[in-house]
């Protein structure tokens, strides 16, 4: 093999990375901030995000493009560019602080402790390396095993991700596979060294809907069988609805709501989550149902608005929101966290909405027009 092999020669990774006390969460992110320096000032891509993830759990991270969800997952993985990045906050993996580790320190962790599946299976595989080469690379790097055994493992991995004729595939190159097959190969590579944490960053966005269902099912089975923690990063609320334990909603670099999946869908507290759900066309609705919209667009992260970042587009906005930024704090039940002064479904929220309705706010109109528009008949 032409590539470097690690000096460490052991199949057992436990001594390399001692396991933390079992009661601590696998991943703890505390007030993580990632800014990118530009000529016009820092872009606050991730601006104070706190969450934790246990083994065997699935967290959905949802947000629109530019909300910082990908930068967040790359920050945790330590995959950011070297220059012009300002990071702060803490990232703890099995109780150990890894937030300030460089690539050389992170390398033993990549693959064996945490792995990532990227959005575009076309560009994330190396086009001039055979599939077999790419799957055996992490195995040979991390473990002291013979090349022949690594190939056997690779065949088993390809089989486990549902690729037919795995022996033949080992000799093929990425361009010979379809998009869905490539994403399966990516998943096999990510699974190769048995990571404890998997980041799936928009794993199905580039795929067709029938293939998307297959890949999501595959990720779910792998996550359950291997008892991994999985963070599923996506813009599609439908993707995370049936497949996650908890969901975190991101807006403008911050988490604005975090709750167990069922609670989030049944009683969203943050107006952004509510508006996002209302704007999705649903198959259960009749044709020509008018959709609720969110007026305006996400803020510029170079110069975000004062107070709550969503306030310029919010139907519940009050003067307080424009001045003071609400913290992410748990509601009455302790599990459901949201960052809002006037949460949806509470007396304060209703009062705020009513007063905005009287004042004729644009965001309120957008909501109401969808509710009151007559549903046209179908010819």
């Amino acid at each position: 093999m032409w590539f470097r092999r690690r000096k460490r020669r052991s199949l057992d990774s436990a001594d390399r990375f001692p396991s933390a006390p079992p009661d601590a969460p696998l991943l703890e992110v505390d007030d993580a901030r990632t800014y990118f320096e530009t000529d016009r000032g820092p872009v606050r891509a991730v601006d104070g995000v706190t969450f934790s993830l246990d083994r065997g759990k699935t967290l959905g991270i949802v947000g629109e493009s530019g909300c910082g969800k990908t930068v967040l997952s790359r920050s945790v993985m330590g995959l950011l560019p070297k220059h012009n990045v300002i990071r702060s906050g803490s990232v703890k993996f099995e109780g150990q602080e890894i937030g300030n580790w460089g690539p050389d320190q992170m390398r033993p962790l990549w693959g064996t402790q945490m792995a990532m599946v990227f959005q575009d299976p076309m560009t994330s595989l190396n086009p001039v390396m055979s599939i077999g080469h790419q799957i055996t690379e992490p195995l040979l790097y991390h473990f002291d095993i013979a090349t022949g055994y690594a190939r056997e493992l690779a065949v088993a991995l390809l089989q486990s991700v549902g690729i037919p004729e795995p022996e033949r595939r080992l000799k093929q190159y990425p361009h010979e596979l379809s998009g869905g097959m490539r994403q399966r190969v990516m998943i096999a590579i990510a699974m190769a060294c048995g990571p404890k944490l998997l980041f799936a960053d928009e794993p199905t966005t580039a795929l067709d809907v029938t293939v998307q269902a297959q890949i999501l099912d595959l990720l779910q089975t792998q996550q359950r069988e291997r008892y991994m923690a999985m963070a599923l990063v996506t813009h599609d609320l439908g993707v995370v609805a049936g497949r996650t334990d908890d969901i975190a909603v991101m807006y403008a670099g911050r988490l604005v709501e975090k709750a167990p999946t069922k609670i989030l869908f049944s009683q969203p507290r943050m107006p952004y989550t509510e508006a996002l759900m209302a704007s999705i066309p649903k198959l259960g609705d009749a044709a020509h149902t008018r959709l609720a919209t969110i007026p305006g667009r996400p803020p510029n992260l170079l110069n975000p608005p004062r107070g709550c970042k969503f306030s310029p587009r919010c139907a519940y906005v009050q003067d307080k929101c424009r001045v003071e930024e609400p913290p992410l704090r748990p509601g009455a039940d302790g599990k459901h966290e949201f960052a809002c002064w006037f949460p949806v479904g509470t007396p304060e929220g209703r009062a705020a909405f009513e007063s905005n309705k009287k004042a004729g706010l644009a965001a309120v109109d957008a909501r109401l027009s969808a509710e009151t528009a007559p549903v046209e008949g179908v010819s």
Partner: protein, 346 residues
């Protein structure tokens, strides 16, 4: 599915656009042919929106483009407002084309980055010298207002200064500038975020009712197509599978492929019932060498010998609901097809 036939076509004098036995093939270097669209017949009445759905590579965009004669179909007829566009050439085709306009998927790359918004929107008007110069300037302003762009701020700016959603609004203004009879929207919202997608879909509906536009709406997202369409056609590998009114088609699909598509959609509702419809494994076969008989048979849970030998013809299952399948699903097989939307939304 994936069959041919014309049983679903309506009388010619009622329709604005009628595609008859459309075939589009592209030659490959090896001497083979990509069978992009094979014997597809479709029609659209005035003021109607036809939704065209299917996975990537199923020929939905090619069908839309063939209707515009971009490129001309290999064979078949495109009847538009009483004339067969496939027989037109040169200047007569040029004269017919302003009646058909297109809106593309990627709003940013479909606008010329080096031109100003006012020039982009008025290009068609300038070419055809519609009205006077002053007149055209006023028209551009009113078009931009119509699509929700502040004309004063936008006229002298370039596309890169706008967001994806705004660029799509500008594309829409450009498309309606020539008062077309038909607009072909090729995945107009798939590059946009959900909140912006809702704005654009509402805008299209609004323009449609104001101008009585006829639209072909091509998309892979079934929920989006259902929201805007009056009639929906499902395509697979260059063939039509099923045609019907959206509510009926999604409530009780009769083609196994439609059912599979519906079961594969991730529903934004954690309480959604587990899949009741048969899903499909595998992937779409190559259009270079499509399967014999029914093209869906290689992935179809109901495929039998007959499907390999005989291509299913399109036939009427229920009034206005057509399917091309030897063994269509009955209502009982389907159970509750469309998932309820309770729980999501306000």
């Amino acid at each position: 599915m994936a069959g041919s036939g014309t049983a679903h076509l309506r009388p010619r004098d009622e329709t604005l656009l009628r595609l008859e036995n459309l075939i589009v093939e592209f030659p490959t270097r090896g001497g083979g042919k990509v069978h992009a669209v094979t014997d597809v017949s479709l029609d659209i009445k005035r003021g109607e929106t036809l939704g065209l759905v299917g996975e990537s590579g199923c020929g939905k965009s090619t069908t839309g483009r063939a209707a515009m004669q971009l490129p001309k179909p290999t064979s078949g007829h495109v009847w538009f407002d009483g004339t067969d566009l496939t027989t037109l050439h040169g200047s007569s085709l040029r004269r017919a084309r302003p009646q058909l306009q297109m809106i593309f998927q990627d709003p940013i790359s479909s606008l010329n980055p080096r031109r100003k918004v006012k020039d982009i929107v008025s290009e068609g008007l300038d070419i055809w010298s519609v009205g006077g110069k002053e007149n055209r300037r006023g028209k551009v302003r009113s078009l931009l207002d119509e699509v929700g762009i502040d004309a004063d701020a936008a006229l002298d700016r370039h596309p890169h200064e706008f967001s994806g959603g705004q660029c799509q609004r500008i594309s829409i203004a450009r498309a309606i500038a020539m008062d077309p009879k038909l607009i072909i929207c090729d995945e107009p919202v798939s590059a946009l975020d959900v909140s912006v997608q809702a704005q654009i879909l509402n805008l299209l509906e609004q323009l449609k009712s104001r101008y009585g536009l006829t639209m072909i709406f091509i998309a892979h997202d079934l929920a989006v197509v259902k929201n805007v369409s009056d009639i929906v056609a499902v395509m697979y590998l260059g063939k039509l599978c099923e045609i019907g009114a959206p509510d009926e088609l999604f409530q009780s699909p009769t083609h196994p492929y439609t059912a599979a598509l519906l079961s594969a959609i991730p529903v934004p509702d954690p309480e959604a019932k587990p899949k009741q419809l048969p899903g499909v494994g595998g992937e779409v076969p190559s259009p270079l060498n499509p399967p014999s008989g029914c093209r869906f048979r290689t992935r179809c849970p109901r495929a039998a010998e007959r499907c390999a030998e005989e291509e299913p013809k399109i036939r009427e299952m229920r009034p206005g609901h057509y399917v091309a399948c030897h063994f269509p699903l009955e209502v009982d097989d389907v159970g509750v097809a469309a998932p309820s939307s309770d729980g999501a939304g306000s």
